[in-house]
Amino acid sequence: MKLNKVAAQAVRSVRRYRLRTLLMMAGVVVGIASLAILTSIAESTKQDTMRRFKNMLGTFDTVIVRPGGGRSRGMPTLVTVPPTLRFEDAQAIATQLPQIKAVAEVQNAFDIDVKYRDRSASPAVFGVSPNWLALRGEDVADGAFFNLEQNDSLARVAVIGADVRKELFPDEDPLGKTLRVGDVPFQVIGLLKSRGAGPAGASLDNLMLIPVNTASRRLFNRDFLTMLVAQVRDPQSTEGVTAVTSLLRERHHIRPPALDDFTVTSPATTMAQVTRAGSTLTRILSGVAVMALLIGGIVIMSLMSISVSERRNEIGIRRSVGAARTDIILQFLSEAVLVATAGGMAGVIIGWGGLELVTRVRQLPHVLLWQPFAASLAMSFIVGSIFGIYPAWRASRTDPVRALRS
């Protein structure tokens, strides 16, 4: 009841001194707007990165096995990997491990000339098992993917990515056409759906898929794999990774203390790392914005302190008609909170506008999350309460006798 009335006095006072109020708000407006913008951008960047990773990795219920123990940079190819991962390994994993649903074999190479009439392209050429599409959660846009029969019979068929199609068949339907990979002719039987850009921004569509057996016997003449992709039954558990690791160690006769001659990674782990990196970014940006907000709070505190000195007479008058020290504290604290929260609201509106602008200019996915805005508002309330305490306390210590004499 009394609080209402004292707060109403604060509202009046805030409206009475408009310029001072606006100046006090300015810092908080900037702080809150940047807090809202930065956290939102960080969040939407994170989501965007995650989306790109998902583009590259396909589904998340797989583990990827590469030959070689150490970390290698970039995409492995037949030239760069040791010949330790065999077709038989893939068979064993697929048949012996109950944790694994399916396995896809992969042989791949880059910088291979692919020609159609007088046109040429150099896509990444992947020899893959027919179950590749299903495992990766991808699809063909047109035509068909090769099947088991075609793989077994070493059929020379190819499914091409959107970039390859653009380069080799700009004006015609590629389905049924024959192109040459090196010297070997392949018939185009399908077109892959476009996957857009990967995490580094490079296109994921500059590739060509052929049956892995065809690749092994007719194109590359290698009987080892560059990669195998195993689909696990339970993506949440690490059992798949463990089982694959121990089976491969056994098959490769590796005993402790010898290290693995292969590397097992799971997209889920990679994803977690990416997410963590994103969260760090969010935290850093939020930290910057919180600093801005703190400066806003200090602005409120200093202007409010000056205002307390200027309003000594008012404080004296209020005290003389019955305001207790607590009433004075309440009034000045309410003013600080009011100004900060109003600044917060303005900041949220400006931040929202700014965010619209930034996402449009930077072409980030349009993510409008309410949490950063709600948090920003709460922050402004807290800033007002904290930085209002000192001036309010000073106001309450004003000696009414002296204040009334001046």
């Binding site: 209020r318 003389s320 019955g322 006798v401």
Partner: protein
């Protein structure tokens, strides 16, 4: 109404010397009295008024207001007493700037127990003849009008005691007379009034005069008729 018993007030100056602003002051004021306190500057008038108004507390002695021993009160209780039992009228009016006459009159209600009653505030303004000026800002009013708003503010919570510190000090003669007539009327209606002044003409409105000198009471007399002007003459 007021019972002061051996009230003393001492201050510590910055240099460490002790100032005795009031020394063992005792007197009583009955409800409905109109008392003037006089004395040269530095005689302790202001200190006395501040203690009576519960804006300051005595160093020693007891002060009973309406039977309550306010000398032992803390800030909350003193504020409540100021709000409900005392109305102040100052030399410099002390209205809130950028605030209308009506809002100024309403302020004591904010700190009281009741709600802010606009009708009562208008009635108080009516009492001082300023209903027409209710919506004007304090700074748009003449000195006399401002002082009348201040009186309306002092009246709003119907306090028994009105403390006035040189209420006509910033007003010219005629306007000052008007203000004094208003105070006199309030006294007739039952308010106890204590005012501090140097002005003989103002002092003449009071029926009792307490003279202070050097923090102590020099004389305390009831004035009658023509002799009203005499004590002032003696003092000078």
């Amino acid at each position: 109404m007021i019972e002061l018993d051996h009230i003393s007030k001492t201050y510590q100056r910055a240099q460490g010397e002790t100032v005795h602003a009031l020394k063992e002051v005792s007197f009583r004021i009955a409800p409905g009295e109109f008392v003037v306190v006089r004395g040269p500057s530095g005689s302790g008038k202001s200190t006395l008024l501040n203690i009576l108004g519960c804006l300051d507390t005595p160093t020693s002695g007891s002060y009973r207001l309406d039977g309550e021993d306010v000398s032992s009160y803390g800030d909350m209780q003193l504020s409540r007493v100021r709000n409900s039992k005392i109305g102040f009228v100052f030399q410099s009016f002390n209205l809130l700037a950028r605030t209308t006459a009506l809002e100024n009159v309403e302020i004591p209600m904010v700190y009281g127990d009741g709600h802010v009653d606009r009708k009562r505030a208008m009635a108080a303004l009516d009492r001082v003849g300023l209903v027409a000026r209710a919506g004007h800002y304090a700074t748009e009013l003449s000195g006399g009008e401002q002082q009348r708003v201040a009186i309306a503010r002092a009246l709003i919570n119907r306090p028994g005691l009105i403390l006035a510190d040189e209420p006509t000090g910033n007003l010219d003669l005629n306007v000052g007379r008007e203000v004094m007539r208003l105070l006199k009327d309030l006294n007739r209606e039952g308010s106890t009034i204590l005012l501090v002044t140097h002005d003989d003409a103002v002092a003449a409105y009071a029926l009792r005069e307490i003279a202070l000198g050097d923090g102590a009471i020099i004389s305390d007399r009831v004035q009658t008729g023509d002799s009203a002007l005499q004590p002032a003459g003696e003092a000078q």
